[in-house]
Symmetry: C2
Amino acid sequence: MPTKERGMGIMFNAKEFIENSLGEIKNIVGDSRVISACSGGVDSTVATYLVHKAVGDKLVAVFIDDGLRREGEPEFVVRILKELKIKTRYVDAKEEFFQTFKGKTDAEEKRKAFRDKFYTTLGKVAKEEQIQFITQGTIKADVLETVKGIKSQHNVLEQIGINPQIYGYKILEPLRELFKPEVRMVGREMGLPREISERMPFPGPALSLRILGEVTAEKAAIVRKATQIVEEEAINLGAFQSFAVLHNDKATGIKEGNRLYGNIITVRIVNSQDAVTALAVNIPYELLSKISKRITNEIPTVVRCLYDITDKPPSTIEFE
Amino acid sequence: MPTKERGMGIMFNAKEFIENSLGEIKNIVGDSRVISACSGGVDSTVATYLVHKAVGDKLVAVFIDDGLRREGEPEFVVRILKELKIKTRYVDAKEEFFQTFKGKTDAEEKRKAFRDKFYTTLGKVAKEEQIQFITQGTIKADVLETVKGIKSQHNVLEQIGINPQIYGYKILEPLRELFKPEVRMVGREMGLPREISERMPFPGPALSLRILGEVTAEKAAIVRKATQIVEEEAINLGAFQSFAVLHNDKATGIKEGNRLYGNIITVRIVNSQDAVTALAVNIPYELLSKISKRITNEIPTVVRCLYDITDKPPSTIEFE
């Protein structure tokens, strides 16, 4: 993997990157076995496919269903991985994840709870598969933001005090030096379906970041439905990210003529190159109004819809 | 006062209404003394001025400073009342109000806390002033919404189990049959300054409805500052109401390069005839963006600004 510093301005050669990477990965892995936690996001899928191309069936992709994925996402990701002929394991950990979130309301506490459950679950699979390497889709922005203390990326192991070598594992992070647009270029160059290479970024801790306060299965169902509506309506905007957030706060409203102290949903649509900075998108008010009406009509408990008008900085893209 | 039913469509004659009202109020009050709790809002100020015109110095206007008024509002209201030659008492009850909100987070519980403290405070003044009548600025929409159970208006005494006669007081509600636009017409006809007759509606429980969760002096200062910014920037829109709401939820952001788990402000701007239904206003994105930037720049703890895109119904104008 290239180790020299590159800025966004310097031409990136995806083909060359892939060739070099394949050789290096083969060398490093040798006859060992590898797992890759693949959420279906651009980063983890490109990393998984790259390693698969290098070592074939020595790699097992692991899709952990944490109950916090978008509508239809688990089926979609598993299908794509199978179509790419990648050996894949689907792990149903929904109940365990909701259990671990019980009573946790602080953003960092929730991130930590997710991370711990994620690595415990992955650790079990690693043991069963008797692997020596764990592949992760860490990219440059993750490293930069972790170093800066902006947020703790769940996929930067060292920071969370996990020394993988104690467990006998080594970490393989083939995209660690790349920026997001370069990751997409690598995906395209390897012939990944557009549904993956052009995919909207989706955070590791998934919908848990978009449920303010305690994370429950009921709240996940609400924000999943709202997310589906936002994605359907925003699809033609070509924005960097479009999603919904469920507040813990409630507000008064009127449903079927009666007062309802109900849920609040925020719609967040941003443009960005690399997620390090971002702009809230000025979308036509008619569309905003349509999204608000669909969300309040189609989700019985929601009485109020807000649109996030803050750039990053001073806000972050996600709420937690 | 006219008792026949009138809809919005039937011509309202403000001059005639005032003449009739003055006569009736004089008759009812006789030689008694009256207090009027005047917040400076259109309804309570028009009611106060009408009764003042009828009975002169037998009326004492009471401004209760609950610590939840907008920037500069206590001074402004007291000044206006004095300019109108209305006998006025300013009551500083800030500490008592914040005390009563301690630990209360539910919307109805907060409304009740406000109401109780309001009437206790007013009751003390009533005793000191040895009055027989309390004037209130109740209007048609308050009555309708209370009957429908949409919200409990703090100024409809019967519903809260206060039987004013037990205390020897009678209630004077000269605007009870009027809709908002008619109240403004009455204000103009009586020659009230435009600052009053054209004033934006402001709820009785004031900023307490715009602080989700527990109400504290610190939070009141944040939402007061945000409200000031929204009102300054929205002044030329001529909207029915423009205000800011402080969430109890927090969100991540970045201030001066560091991660901050900070406050969220929602901006709410609506158009309405009578507050019974309302439309969120499609304001230019440049203005929304300017408001967001000012709020996050000028209030250190705020990292995120949202714009409410919901009509009434299904939401209400206020959040609580």
